[in-house]
């Protein structure tokens, strides 16, 4: 196949807006992109947002259902901002490089590592941390399931495990054991509480379906 060959069929792409578990909850991003692809040399317009390197910029994060205004540097990770700026210390940091899962949170309903996400990238995204699973002073069903199944020892990995399980059961109401293994495979437990974590995940799924509680 020749290099530089032009591909005529794809020149007229239109976005059909196929769902992508989306980032784009903010306004103003619709139709402009298609036109832009056709004139890739056009000058940038004021729509591009830029944040300076060494100053604090004000951003708005939607965390646990509340809009939080916070001053950040672009280089700060979301885990840093949650813990150090907003005092949401339920989110833990273990490896700080995407290997352990302690920092797991939900972004638009799916689990992600907050240590591998810049806070500025999380603007316009629905963020849920382990604190957000509480109903006032009461534990949410997934948290309750971890307690009932004794699914932790030291507890350091636990909030990340809970968020991974919460993400799993929200998207898959009746997970198989394999689904559970896959769902929490991004979360290491140095204490090795895995068997209890799997049991907690099963219980959490059952609770959500309203059939749990006994046994």
């Amino acid at each position: 196949m020749a290099k530089n060959q032009r591909d005529k069929d794809v020149e007229t792409t239109e976005s059909t807006g196929l769902s992508r578990r989306g980032f784009l909850t903010r306004v103003g991003v619709g139709a402009v992109s298609v036109a832009a692809a056709k004139s890739a040399t056009a000058q940038p317009t004021s729509r591009a947002q830029a944040l300076p390197a060494t100053e604090l910029s004000r951003i708005t994060l939607n965390i646990n259902g509340r809009q939080r205004q916070v001053l950040v540097e672009p280089r700060w990770t979301l885990s840093h901002v949650l813990r150090e700026e907003l005092g949401l210390t339920g989110t833990k940091v273990g490896c700080d490089r995407g290997e352990c899962g302690a920092c797991t949170i939900l972004m638009n309903g799916v689990p992600r590592y907050s240590c591998l996400t810049l806070a500025v990238e999380a603007e316009g995204v629905e963020i849920v941390t382990v604190e957000g699973l509480m109903d006032r002073e009461n534990l949410g069903p997934t948290q309750e399931a971890f307690l009932t199944e004794d699914a932790f020892q030291c507890g350091y990995c636990t909030s990340g495990q809970i968020m991974a399980v919460e993400g799993l059961v929200r998207n898959n109401p009746d997970p198989s054991v394999d689904d559970i293994r896959t769902g929490v495979s991004g979360n290491l437990c140095r204490c090795g509480a895995y068997a209890h974590i799997f049991a907690a995940a099963q219980r959490a799924a059952a609770e959500r379906q309203g059939v749990g509680g006994e046994s």
């Binding site: 196949m1 196929l18 692809a37 300076p52 995407g98």
Partner: protein, 302 residues
């Protein structure tokens, strides 16, 4: 972990992103960040400008255009896995994406980032090359497309020019009678970096293998195509290359012969070569059965 200062840009169009790359001294694109942020944290790279792709809408869609599947560069691995369009027309792409990282990584990392990092072990590359994908690159001088195989220049080096963006991946929808599969071997089940991987595409017409493609990952600086193996298969009746046949054994060895593996912490070169032969056999058997039956197990998905 410390990340050094950078300016952060959030363009909404490709044109803005290209212009930002052109005006910045050392601007870098940020997609999912699962490679870039790790490098920044480890102090392996520094950039004055980080240009986010998250708000460029067209990079996030998966569409069918005529007989091509068009995948935006910022589509995540989990989108590849769950897309009904991809599962129906090119199931093996979903299959490959499902082997990557962990749930959190698959919700974050993108196919464009995977290709542009150009690690030899990138798991989306072999299957996309086997399916004869092309990539569209957009830069200051306009757009060009090239065969995905030609994007890879060396381990972590691509043919992208300084101010170019990979905008989308164009995969011809395989005609009926085509089967494809991806097999990888790593040292564990999750967050499992490939020690070796093989993607196979085979097209069967009238019980004959009309066309075949074998592409290896992690056993050379770039994804590697085995021309020898394809040559052995093309033109042969299906019966000659079926499971357990002597010819299939020769095909698997041919793939392994075309590998150029290295010794490293994940395995010796000799081990990688052996594993490659086994993966090639398995992937071919699976692809052939899919070509013949028209069904890929697990295709229905959730």
């Amino acid at each position: 972990m410390y990340i050094s200062d950078f300016r952060y840009h959030r363009p909404q169009t490709l044109a803005e992103a290209v212009a930002l790359l052109e005006t910045s001294r050392d601007g870098v694109l940020l997609a999912g960040g699962t490679d870039l942020l790790v490098d920044l944290k480890q102090g392996k790279r520094f950039h004055e400008d980080v240009i986010s792709l998250t708000r460029i809408e067209e990079l996030h869609s998966i569409e069918l255009h005529g007989d091509s599947l068009v995948i935006g560069a910022a589509v995540t691995h989990n989108q590849l896995i769950h897309s009904p369009l991809i599962r129906q027309s090119c199931f093996a792409i979903s299959e490959a994406a499902a082997t990557i990282g962990t749930e959190q990584i698959r919700n974050t990392a993108t196919v464009g980032g995977n290709l542009c990092t150009a690690a030899s072990c990138a798991d989306t590359a072999p299957i996309l090359i086997a399916l004869e994908a092309r990539v569209e690159l957009i830069g200051g001088r306009g757009r060009r497309t090239l065969a995905l195989a030609n994007l890879f220049v060396d381990h972590r080096r691509t043919a992208l020019e300084k101010c170019e963006i990979l905008s989308r991946i164009i995969v011809p929808v395989p005609p009926a009678g085509t089967g494809a599969a991806f097999e990888k071997f790593g040292l564990r089940q999750a967050a499992n970096i490939s020690v070796a991987s093989v993607a196979v595409m085979v097209r069967v017409v009238d019980q004959r293998c009309e066309r075949a493609s074998f592409v290896m990952g992690a056993v050379a600086p770039t994804p590697r195509i085995s021309g020898k193996a394809a040559g052995l298969v093309e033109g042969r009746p299906v019966s000659q290359v079926s499971e357990g046949s002597e010819l299939l054994e020769r095909v698997a060895r041919a793939v392994a012969d075309d590998a150029a593996p290295l010794d490293d912490i994940r395995g010796s070169a000799a081990f990688r070569r052996e594993v490659t032969a086994t993966l090639a056999r398995r992937a071919f058997e699976k692809a052939l059965s899919r070509a013949v039956t028209g069904v890929a197990e697990g295709q229905a998905g959730r």
